[in-house]
Structure formats: C-alpha cells, structure tokens
C-alpha cells in the first residue's frame, strides 16, 4: 500500500463515486428505456448518498493528493457536502416535476452529476489550472442543462446566451491567470501567496497584479452573477427547466463562491507569510462596490417582474450581493459569515424553488398572477412558502435573518458601515416583491382551479421550511460548521 497513486485515489473517493454514478445513470437509462424517470432518479440519489458517506469519512482530514493538485480539507468538504445536499434536492424536484418529459432523462441526471463533479474539483484545489477545468466542466454541463428543453425557444435562447457569456468570461479569467503565472512562475495559489518573486514584482509595480486580480474576479463574478456580469442570469434562469434553475441558483453559485473564497483567502487575507495581505484593502473596496451595485440592482429589477421564476432569479442576484458583504470584509470572520449565509441561502432558496416546481405543475405557468388565491387551495405549502419569503427578506426568527445579522456585524466591524446601511435598506426593497407572492397567495380571492396534491413534494418542502425556521432559532450547528470549515482554509493558505 505504499503506492502514492493508490493512496491518492482513496482521497478522491467521493469524486470517483460521483463519476461512476453519472455513468451508471446514463447506461441505466438505456437499459430501462421507456420506463419512468423515477428509477434513474433513485439511482442518482443512492449515488449521492454514497458520495456523502465518503465525504463524511473525510471530515476533518487534510491532505494534498495527485501531485498536490487536489486539496482535501474542511473548506472543500463544506462546499462538496453543500453540493451533494443541493443536488439531492434538485433530483427530487426533477422526479416530481410534472412538466418534465419522460424520455432522455438519463442524460439529465448524467449532466447534473457531471456538473457536480466539476464543482467538486473547483472547490477542492488551490491549483488554478484544475480550478479552471472544474469551472469548465460545471459550465459545459450547465449549458446543456439550460437548453434541455430542445423544442422550447426560451430554453434554447437561454442556453445560447449562457454559452456566449460563459465562454467570454472564462477567456477573461484564464487571461488573468496567465498574467498571475507570469508574475510568479507558479499556478498554485498556496505557492503564489508566499512567492518572494511576487512581492518583489508587486512592490515595484502593482499594476500587473491589479489587472490580473480584476480579470480573475470578473470570471468569478460571472459565475456568481454579480453586477455588471449578471446579464445572462435572468434569461437563463427563466428559460432553463425549473430544477436546473434551482441547481444553477444554489449549487453552481455556491461553488463559484467557494472558489472565490479560496482564491481571495489564499492571496489576500492577511496572515503571516502572506505577501499580498497589505493589498487586501484595495480589493475590499472593489468587492464592496460590487456588493452594493449587485444587491441594489438585483432588488430593484426584481420589483418589476411578473414571473416568479424571473423574480427569484433577480432575488438570487441580490443575495449574491449580500454574501459579498461578508467577503468584502476580507477577514476570516467575514468569510465565515458569508458561508453561513450560503447555508441559509440553501434552505430558503431550495424551498422557494420547490414551491415553484409544485405550482408550475399545478397551474402550468410561472407568473405571480397565476398564484392568486392558491394559498387557500394548498395551504400547507403556501404557508411554508411564506416562511421562505420571510427568511429571504431577512426577518427573524429564520435562518436568513441570522445570516444577515452575521454579515452586518462583520461589515460594521470592518468599517463598511455604509455598505451595511445599503444592505439594510435593500432588505426593505426586497420585502416589497417578496410580499407580492404572499399577497397573491393569501390576499386574493380563492382561485377556481383546484390544486392537485403532491404529498411527497409538499412534505419535502415543508422539511426545508422547518429547517429555515429551526436553524434560525437554534443557530449553533450551522454556524460552527461554517466556522470550522474556515479554520482549515487558514491553514491551507498559510502553508
């Protein structure tokens, strides 16, 4: 057992399981051709459960494998578990999406699992080359997923827009990375951060580093749809099948944040032996401006939407802005708050999209108008939706409130008071459009049409709703998870 390659394989067991599951889903679909999608779905769920099992096995361990390209650490573990959990929910939504066609679903699951593999590599490497590869695997899978409704013009348009924007931003990002490589002679973030060469170069002339940082940030900003790189988001989110939208809005976005946190954490968050710590302040200002623009633009654009799906798209842009408040702090505590907020975002946004999946099945439409009076027809899921809306607005006693509270605390602590005030006022704006959904559900006359029950989906969304409120009252588990995950980023970036 002294073969280093075999040892390395053990530490990427979760990735291997995911790959096997993806391939199995593809083959299984051919074998049971013409059958319901449900079986392939269960297969995927089983694969995800096995992946999660291996991820828990790696809990708390730290290793660098495959020539040091893949880092197994708690930080990556956080985002991997996040992805697995989100993907499991998405698979459940695919299985319960009544509008989903029943053939070719094997590819659907295959692509979703493939995207997850991309995320896994993206968040667990400090090697920029591997990060870009993961990034691309995620993107390519997402392009196809967005256009999965081949006959649907909107879906096709979404896919096309996604490809063009995605290709461009990857190009920009890779160019930035090449500049960074030129400056340091290495492609590994951990080595870059401690490179004496870099420090010498930067103190002589900081401009190349500035350009490289801006270009790389642009690539990340595209993935997490920060303004002004958000233009693809509403169209893609609207055109893509709803479960895919859910995946893009939750898992894919969180992965972008994961990679961004690792990048910034390694290069700029000040600590001993870090060459660029002193340049963190300039990055802070840039990120804070991005945050302010993103949340304001997302919220104001969401005000005018008549489609719930599009509204949730803009709302997810706004939430990316809130997360950026924590990241802009450029401190470990700020990052921890951002990660807590991502966990909060998981519950409330998955829940809101689950509600959307249900109502698209019932009414065949995603407009807010079509929800009128449905609160009286399907009271449980609608009540739970109100809990998600409350959490998205950031009102207690929900997980969204506590997340915002933590972000505000870190913002104030780092002297970003102006940004915190903007974020607070943004919450008020967001209330207005979130309430439109609650209003349509409960304040309008009961609808004529009956809502066909979907007990499994409802039950599942209700669990998410209970978690949204429950973790808002009992915050310790999520908070300590987010905190613990960052302790290892500190070690990784310091080494």
């Amino acid at each position: 057992m002294n073969n280093p390659y075999l040892d390395g394989l053990a530490s990427i067991a979760p990735e291997i399981v995911l790959t096997v599951t993806a391939l199995a889903a593809l083959v299984f679909d051919l074998v049971v051709k013409g059958r319901e999608s449900v079986r392939v779905g269960y297969l995927s769920l089983a694969g995800l459960a096995a992946t999660a099992w291996f991820l828990f096995g790696q809990w708390g361990t730290e290793s660098h494998t495959a020539f040091g390209m893949v880092s197994i650490d708690q930080f990556g573990n956080f985002f991997k578990l996040f992805t697995v959990a989100a993907l499991a929910v998405v698979v459940l939504y695919v299985m319960h999406d009544r509008r989903e066609r029943k053939s070719g679903v094997g590819e659907y699951y295959f692509l979703l699992l493939g995207a997850a593999i991309g995320i896994f590599f993206m968040v667990s490497t400090s090697n920029l080359l591997l990060m870009v590869l993961g990034f691309e695997l995620l993107s390519l899978s997402s392009y196809s997923l967005a256009g999965f409704h081949k006959g649907n013009r909107k879906s096709a348009e979404a896919s096309m827009k996604y490809v063009i924007f995605g290709g461009l931003s990857t190009g920009i990002m890779v160019y930035g990375i090449s500049l960074l490589y030129g400056l340091t002679g290495t492609i590994d973030l951990a080595q870059m951060a401690t490179s004496p060469n870099l420090l010498a170069q930067v103190s002589a002339n900081p401009i190349p580093l500035g350009i490289a940082t801006v270009l790389i940030l642009a690539g990340f900003a595209y993935k997490i749809s920060l303004a002004p790189f958000h233009f693809w988001t509403p169209d893609v989110y609207e055109g893509a099948p709803t479960p895919v939208t859910t995946f893009l809005a939750v898992a894919s976005k969180a992965a972008g944040f994961g990679a961004l946190l690792r990048f910034l954490g390694a290069l700029f968050v000040g600590q001993s032996g870090n060459a660029l710590g002193s340049y963190g302040e300039r990055v802070t200002l840039m990120l804070a401006l991005l945050a302010a623009i993103t949340m304001t633009l997302g919220n104001f654009a969401a005000l005018r939407q008549s489609s719930l799906k599009r509204m949730l798209a803009y709302s997810s842009i706004a939430h990316a802005g809130y997360v950026m408040v924590g990241i802009a702090c450029m401190t470990r505590e700020g990052f921890s708050a951002a990660m807590y907020y991502l966990a909060a975002y998981y519950f409330m946004n998955l829940g809101a999209f689950g509600f959307l999946v249900y109502f698209e099945g019932v009414t065949g439409s995603d407009t807010i108008d079509s929800l009128k009076g449905m609160g009286f027809k399907a009271p449980l899921i609608s009540m739970v939706m109100v809990a998600f809306l409350v959490s998205l607005t950031g009102l207690p006693p929900t997980v969204g409130f506590y997340g915002k509270y933590l972000l505000f605390v870190e913002g104030v602590d780092e002297g970003l008071m102006w940004l915190v005030v903007i974020a607070a006022l943004n919450s008020v704006v967001s209330l207005f459009y979130y309430l439109r959904v609650a209003k349509a559900l409960f304040l309008n006359k009961p609808a004529e049409a009956d809502a066909a029950p979907a007990p499994l989906l409802t039950g599942f969304v209700t669990v998410l709703g209970l978690a949204t409120v429950g973790f808002g009252l009992y915050v310790a588990p999520l908070e300590s998870w987010a905190n613990r995950s960052l302790d290892l980023l500190k070690a990784a970036s310091g080494s």
Binding site: P396, F408, L443, S480
Partner: protein, 521 residues
C-alpha cells in the same frame, strides 16, 4: 414557576396557536374556545402579575440593584443562554415601565378575541395569527436582551400584515403592505444600530448597555473610525436610527401616514389591538432601548423631539377635525394623543415622563373603546360616514351613553383617565429645564381645543339632530359588544379617579430612569 411566569404569559398564546393549527378547519367552536382560553389564561396571569406578583420596590431598592448589574431593578428575571457565539440570551424581566403594558396587552387581546366572534369570515388562520401577534407583543415588553427584543419586534409584523391584508376593508392590500414596509424600514435601521451597539459593548443585555451608556462608555470607540458614519458621531446616529424605528411605530409626524390607512382597512378587533397596544410599543421602545442607550444624543435632540410631539398633537387633531370617516377620525386622534407621549418624554421631568407612560396606558384603553364604538355602528350600517347618520341617540340610547363616556375620556374631561395623563405631560413639559418647552406647551393646548372640537362635532352629527329615517329599526348595542367595551370604559373611569393605581407602580422606575439619564446630561 414564579421566575418563569413571564415565559408562561408570553408563550401561552403560542401553545394556543399550535393547538388551533392542529384542529380541523370546520370545528370553529373549538378554535374559538382555544383562543379564548389561551388569551384568558394569559390575562389571568397578567392581572395576577400586576396586582399581586409585581413588587412595588422603592427607588432605593432599585438603585441598590444597580450594584448587582441590573440598573433597571427588573423583577421575575429569567436568563438563559441562547446563541452562545454572539452572546444573545433569552433574558426577560419586567419593571415599572413594562408591567402595566403587559397587563394591558393581555386584557386587550382577550377582548380582541371576543370582539372577533362577531366576524363571520374569521376562521382558523385568523385566530392563529391573532395569538401569534400576542406572542410578539408580550415578547417585546418583557425582553431585556436587545437581540431578543428585535426578534419579537419583527415577529409581530407578519401576523399584522395578514390580519389587515386578508380580513380588512376594500383597500386592505395597500394598507397592509404600507404598514409592513414602513415598520420594516424603521426596524432595519434599528438592526444596524443594534449591531453597532453590540460590537462596541460586547453585550446585548439592555441593563448592561444602559449602564455602559450612562457612564459614558458606549461611544463607539472600539469600532473602526470610532463609529462615525457620514460625519455623525456614534451616539448621534445610533440614537436617530433607533428613534426613527420607534417613531414609525408610535407614529410620530411625519412617519404617521401608514396609520390612517391601516386603521381604516383593518377589521375592528385588529384596529383595537393596533391602537390599543401596538402604538405603545414605539413609546415603550424609546424609553427602554433608545434614550437610555444614547443619553447624550437624547439630551441634545430633546427639543426636536418635543417639536415633533407638538406637531403630532396639533396636526393629528386638526386633520381629525376634517374627516368624515368615523374610523379615520379616531385614527388621527391616535396620532394626536400619542404626541403627548413624545412631548412628555422629551421634556425629561418626572411629571412629563410619568405622564407619558400614563398616557400610553390611558390611550390604550380609550382608543380601544373608541374603535369598538366605531365597530358597533359599522356592523349595523356598513358605512362609517359621519354625515350619514343623525339622531341615533333616540334609537340607540345605551350605545349613545357608552359613546359619550368614551368620547369624554378621549377628550380629556377631568375625572376620566385621559385628563390626568395629558395634564401631567403638559405640566411636566412646562417645568422642563429648557424653557422653550413652555412655548411648545402653549402651542399644544391648541390640540386640546381641536380634540374637543372634532369629538363633539362627530357626536353632534351622529347622535344628535334629526332622526335619520333610514336607521329606524337599527339594533341596539348587544351584550357581547357591551361586554367588550365595559372593561375599557371601566378602566378609563377607574384611572381617572384613582390614577395612583398606575402611578405608584411606575413611579420608582421612572424616577430611576430620570436619575440615571441625568447623571450623564
């Protein structure tokens, strides 16, 4: 049990709510029974607390408590760690400022449930939301931890939104969303201030924060840039952020515009609760979590607050005079009456401050009575146009008698509760160290004249004059309606004659508050 009594009072309605949610939609009698039982039990506990449980400590005893870290001398304290990482605690307790308001809340909600029995549309969700609202209100009054305070503060919003939005009048959607947006706009600013206070002091405990603030140690010195925001120093902006949050709730002119809309559209029991107790949260919040946390800024801006109070008094009464909608008139009268609260507090004298707290309680009873009175006529005539009635005194003599009592209590007739508290705030303001307050008092007497005018004018139009033939067979006020109004009118008379029944409870706490704030100023 004794030390947990506040928890029981606060969460009894929550238990009731859980039971209601489990009951089937069709068993309305059971739902009503459970809501009645939950609010009744809370009222029994609240009454016990006020008359027996709460110990009237002397000022010396309260001051002695300061050595043990409790500057407020709170009673029935329960303190449990809640969120360790940010040191938020489940920390509840009451003092002379809150005990009467807790009692009033439990009474009002009990009556609110009975008054709701007349609403045919009110179903399972309605009673569940009503009970959730009670949890939020009581929670705010008993919280001594700023984080907990904020959580309860926000918990109130959603039930109120739905109660107005689903069961309200024709423009209910607009009114409900306006209420929510206004309140939230205020409370997010509060949150920013709370965050800043927490970072500077390392605690959420209100007594501890007060202690730090009055000894000049809460100046934002541990924050980046010393907590300066847009050129304003820490205490100034903290004060204004908190103040605006509470002022929207009071509501103080110019933040009052949500109130007439919300009142007009809300169903009667909700109007009663809104005017009777929700508005008091604003005034109470200022005394508990605004002035004591930024005493310097409070003293600096006292005159501005006084001016805002006087504008509210005069403007509210003047606009009420011009209303033809009965309910809107009463709503504007609330703006006017709550103006006295602000004026009295700003004057910063014992009489002014005590008058303000007393006025909060008395406005709670008299405005509740007025909204119930409006509800009675609206249920029968289905409109509230003051000009559309006439001569009702001959058709509904008992109703007229009760209305007269309610009106006189509202306009401050000596012998009734409103007179005592208004007189105290005015006298107290006249004694203020800042002599400009004497001018304010003079101006605010205009409000008294206008108040008398609009109430008497309304009385004349509705009850006196020629009988309106349309309402020949109108039904006299029934037993349930009398039963709802009786407690409030009784309290108006009782505290008009024996105001010390309230004053003795609050006096030591108010005196203590003034003493600790004075040291700084």
């Amino acid at each position: 049990m004794q030390s947990q009594i506040l928890t029981w009072i606060t969460f009894l309605p929550l238990i009731g709510m859980a039971v209601i949610l489990l009951l089937p939609k069709t068993s309305m009698n059971a739902i009503k029974g459970v809501s009645l039982a939950a609010t009744f039990l809370a009222m029994v506990l609240g009454t016990w607390l006020y008359f027996y449980g709460f110990e009237q400590k002397s000022l010396a005893e309260i001051e002695a408590a300061r050595a043990t870290g409790d500057i407020l001398g709170a009673q029935f304290v329960q303190r449990i760690d809640w969120i360790d990482s940010i040191k938020a605690q489940y920390y509840v307790g009451i003092d002379g400022l809150s005990v009467a308001l807790v009692w009033l809340t439990t009474v009002l909600l009990f009556v609110g449930v009975i008054a709701s029995f007349g609403m045919e549309k009110a179903g399972k969700a309605y009673y569940a939301l009503l009970l959730m609202l009670e949890v939020g209100i009581l929670g705010v009054f008993v919280s001594l931890d700023l984080f907990l305070f904020y959580v309860f503060w926000e918990v109130m919003l959603l039930p109120m939104y739905f109660l107005i939005g689903i069961w309200g009048g024709p423009r209910r959607e607009y009114a409900a969303i306006k209420f929510f947006l206004y309140t939230l706009a205020g409370s997010v600013l509060m949150l920013v201030a709370i965050v800043a206070l927490r970072l500077d002091s390392g605690t959420f405990s209100i007594p501890q924060l007060t202690e730090l603030a009055v000894s000049g140690k809460l100046l934002g010195m541990s924050l980046p840039a010393n907590g300066v925001l847009l050129g304003m120093d820490f205490t100034t902006w903290v004060f204004w952020f908190l103040f605006v949050g509470f002022a929207i709730k009071v509501p103080v002119w110019p933040f009052h515009t949500w109130l007439p809309d919300a009142h007009v559209e809300a169903p009667t029991p909700i109007s009663v609760i809104l005017a009777g107790i929700l508005l008091k949260l604003g005034g109470y919040g200022m005394l508990r979590a605004c002035f004591p946390l930024a005493p310097d800024a409070f003293h600096e801006s006292a005159f501005i607050l006084g001016v805002l109070g006087v504008i509210s008094i005069v403007y509210g009464a003047f606009v009420a005079l011009g209303q033809s909608d009965f309910k809107k008139m009463v709503a504007y009268s609330s703006v006017s009456h709550m103006g006295y609260v602000l004026l009295g507090m700003a004057a910063f004298t014992v009489w002014g401050m005590e008058g303000a707290v007393l006025q909060m309680f008395n406005h709670g009873t008299s405005s509740a009575a007025l909204f119930l009175i409006v509800g009675v006529i609206y249920d029968r005539a289905h409109h509230r146009d003051l000009n559309g009635f006439g001569g009702l005194s001959q058709l509904m003599p008992r109703y007229w008698a009760l209305t007269t009592l309610g009106f006189f209590a509202a306009l401050g007739l000596p012998g009734l509760a409103g007179f005592v508290s208004e007189a105290m705030t005015l006298v107290g303001s006249f004694q203020a160290a800042d002599t400009r307050f004497q001018v304010l008092v003079l101006i605010s007497t205009l409000g008294i004249v206008f108040t008398a005018a609009f109430l008497l004018y309304a009385m004349q139009r509705v009850f006196l004059g020629k009988k309106n033939a349309k309402y020949e067979g109108i039904e006299e006020i029934n037993f349930r309606e009398v039963f709802c109004q009786a407690p409030f009118l009784f309290l108006c008379v009782l505290f008009g004659i024996l105001p010390y029944l309230l004053l003795d409870w609050m006096h030591p706490s108010v005196q203590n508050l003034i003493n600790i704030l004075k040291v700084q100023g």
